[in-house]
Every structure is written in C-alpha cells, then in structure tokens.
Amino acid sequence: GIFAAGGEESELTRVKLPLGYIPNVQFAPLYVAVEKGFLSDAGIEVEFDYSFETDAMALVGADELQFAVVSGEQVLLARAQGLPVVYVAAWYQQYPVAVVSKVGQGIETPADLKGKKIGLPGLFGANYIGLDALLFSAGLGESDVTLDSIGFTQVESLAADRDQAVSVYAANEPVQLRAQGYELNELLVADHVQLASNGLITNEKTIVEDPDLVKRMVAALVRALEYSIANPDEAYELSKLHVENLAEADETVQREVLARSIELWKADRLGYSDARAWGNMQDTLVKMGLLSKPLDLSKAFTNEFLP
C-alpha cells in the first residue's frame, strides 16, 4: 500500500511504479525524474517494479497499486473486463512497434507483407496489435500472412532467416540488428496509423480520492520527459545509475536506442492523449475480435491532469 503524506512537507508519498519490463535505457525519463528531483519536488518517492504488464494492470485495477506504465491497448482490454483503470498521461506519442525485414526481402510498404511469414512473440500484446493494425492499414488481414509465434526471439529468427519479417519494438531490436551489420527495411506502425501508446495509468478510486497525487505524478513525468528530450546525453548518464550493466553494454547501440525512443516521445503537447488514436485503437481491437463491443472511451483516458 502507500503511506499517505502526513502534515509535514518533508514526508513523501511513496508509490510503487511497475514499468512492465526490465530496467532499460528506454525508461530514461523516469530515471531523470528521480535523479533530478522532479518526483521529490512533487512530493513523491517512487520504487520501480519490473513485473509483467498484465500483472501490473491487475494490481492497479484492484487498487493494490496506484500507478503503472502500460501500453494503450491494454487499457481498453482491461476496461472491457471491468478493470477500473484510467490512462492519465501519454508517454509515447508514436505506437512503438515496427515490422522489420532484411532489405533483400523487398518489403517496403505494408502491402508487401502479403504472403510473408512474420515472426512475433505470440498472439497477444503490443507486437501483435501493432502488426495487425499495420496489416489493416493496407487492407490486409491475418489470413493474408503467416503468423509465427516464436516468443521473444525475433532478432535471432530474423538473423537466422526463420522468418521473413518480425514484429519488434521500434526503438530496440532494429538498432541491435543494424549494429550486427544487417540492412533492414522498417515499417513503423505509427507512420501508417495513429494508435494510443504507452503511458501512465491510475485507477478510478485514486482519481476520486487523491486527484492531487495524480496531478503531481503526471506533472513530474511530463517535466522529466521534456528534460530528457532536451538533454539526451545527461539522461543517458543518469540512466546508468539505474540500469544494470548499462555501463558495460555497447554504448553506441544503447545511445541509439535512447535517440530513437526520444523520436517516439516527441509531441506538440507532451502527455496529451489524442482521441483519434484511441478511436483507431478501439477499431483495431474490435476488428481483431479482441473487443466484442465498443467501450465508452471517454472513461478510458483523460487529459485533465496535464499541467
């Protein structure tokens, strides 16, 4: 649980924040928010948690936790099952999934995917939804391609030519593959359809009971995003304090990962949720059969806590 701030100013609200993935340079803004004191300025002390996204979602839904960072489609899927979660700040403006292939395959537009064998971790999660959205944008469907559920082994499968294309996280795997000397074609989902992406969620109870906390949290996140975009080198150095092994890893690759991530974060108004992107996401999910009926999207996200 949390320990609500007492009367004294010096006491911080302690918050556990699941990120859904292991420590990674992609979470640089959060590390910045801690190290630059943005969070403590907002009266919050966070403890990062690296458990699975769906587990985090369930915990927030059950009000065991107040916040989590999750992918946009997860919010809709969870709400469809009655989880009272609300998306309060967008972090990624661009849906961070891409379909990559070796140049030799000649896959340059989504339409070129027709008839190809495409590797993805499984029929769930962002890689799956991003891929389908991309196919739909070209008028294709799942039946036009061969989906190959290979777990999180897309890099290896592409390198070993198991699959002709793979659905990956745009900021990470393509960079790694290029660093290994592969020439790639990359289809970024966000270039073809705008979808609601990763962001900060809370639950309805927290919004009612402690709207100020939500506001402070969102403010700190947006401030950190802004700072990270402006100072990528410093963000990288601060990440080393949190990311195990970052100091030992291949620096040029990791800096490139950060640079690419920043491209996905950039927006006119940081933190803002675009109703169109949410509508597109819902359409995609309905088309995929993952949602049986449309939801009240106005309850799924809000911009009211943005500074």
Binding site: L77, G125, R162
Partner: protein, 253 residues
Amino acid sequence: MKNKTSLLGLSSILLGLLAWDLLARFGSLPAFILPSPVDVWVRFLKAVTDGSLFFHAGVTLLEIVMGLGVGTLLATVLGYLVARSRTLERALSPYLVASQAVPLVAIAPLLVIWFGPGMFSKVFICSLIVFFPVLVNTIVGVRAVPAALHDLMRSYHAARRDILFKLEVPSALPIFLGGLRIGATLSVIGAVVGELVGADSGLGFLINVGRGQYDTALVFVALFTLMALALSLYGLVILVERRFLAWQESVER
C-alpha cells in the same frame, strides 16, 4: 473402505470449492483477479461449446504424452547405464545436472532457432523436465536391488536381459514409479512453459490469451484443465502401481 476413501477425496475437493467460493464472494479481491466458481464454470461451458478447449487441451496433451514418453525413455535407459557404472556416472553427471539448471526460458531462443517454434520445442522442454526425476529414481532404484538376488541370478548364469527384466525391472519398480509420478506431474508444467514462451495453440497459449484480454475466468479454465491433465496422468501412474506393486505391503500402520 475403498468407497470411504474416495468419498473423502471427493469431499475434500468440494471443501476446496466451497472455500474458494467464499473467498471470491466475501474476500476483497475483484473478479478479474479471483473469479467465482460460477464465473469459471460458465466460461468453461462456453469454451467447451465452441470447441476451443478441446482443441487446445488436445495440443497440450499431445505434447505432454510425447515429452513424457521421450523423457522417460531416455532417463530410464541412461539411468540404468549410470546405475551400473560409477565411471559413466562421473563422466555424465556434470552434464545431467547442469542440463537441469538451465532456465529453459533463457535458452528458448536457441531452441527456437534449432528446432523451430512448433511442437518440437515444447516436447523437448517437456522431456527435459521429465528426464531428471525419472533418471535419479531409476539410479536409486537399480542401485537398491538386493545383492542377494543378484547372487541368485548369477548362480543360474542368467543372461543380461533376464537379469534386467526378471530382477532389476521388478525390483526397482516402486522407486522408479515414484520418479514417474514426479515426472508425469512435471511434464504438464514442461509443456505449458514451452507454450507460454511462444505458441499459437495449447493451454499455455490459452492462458496467455486470457491474460492478455484480462479474461481471468478463461485463465482459470485453462489452469483447471491443466490440473485435470496432471491428475489424470498421476492417476495413471497410481493405477500402474496398484497393478504391479500388489506384492508390497499396504498395511496402514
């Protein structure tokens, strides 16, 4: 007597159901974390009606049966050889033990690359996990064959295969079947771990789907089906024990 005890098993299951229902009803957990037995039953009927449960359960069962078969076979043969030669044991045991310590999730990429993401890698993982308990208990069982009975067989100049089938197999059977009980139960995990890592069918896949769509009732349906599979396999081993170990005292002390 027999009726009484199976009644006991049944009533212990009913008791478990009741506890679960009460927990779901009056506990503080929302339905998407802990659905009630009724929710799960409804979801079960749906999954049965649309055929998806049978299909996925069938895939998993096939993987389990194959994995169990291969793992048991290899473990029995190797265990027998190792039991009869300390030299072989010293040479192999680092590999055998190490093979068990590898978290399979971590080497899945290699497995996928080597064997493809299809059924083979699941069967492989499954047989790897079945392998060790059967191996160890085969070794322990074969080593526990009474020396006096070996003497008896030697006095007849019995052929190796006679020693094997008429002495070592029946004598090691109780301990071996203990290993098989463990193996059969673990095999279910083995197949599911493979499916959780990457698959497009099977009960592990169904769990992933249920989790991805926050359909917790479906997750529970898959989990219970897995438990039912495990219990059936376990029950099969118990049946074999009843059939072949009647000579052991079954006195309740």
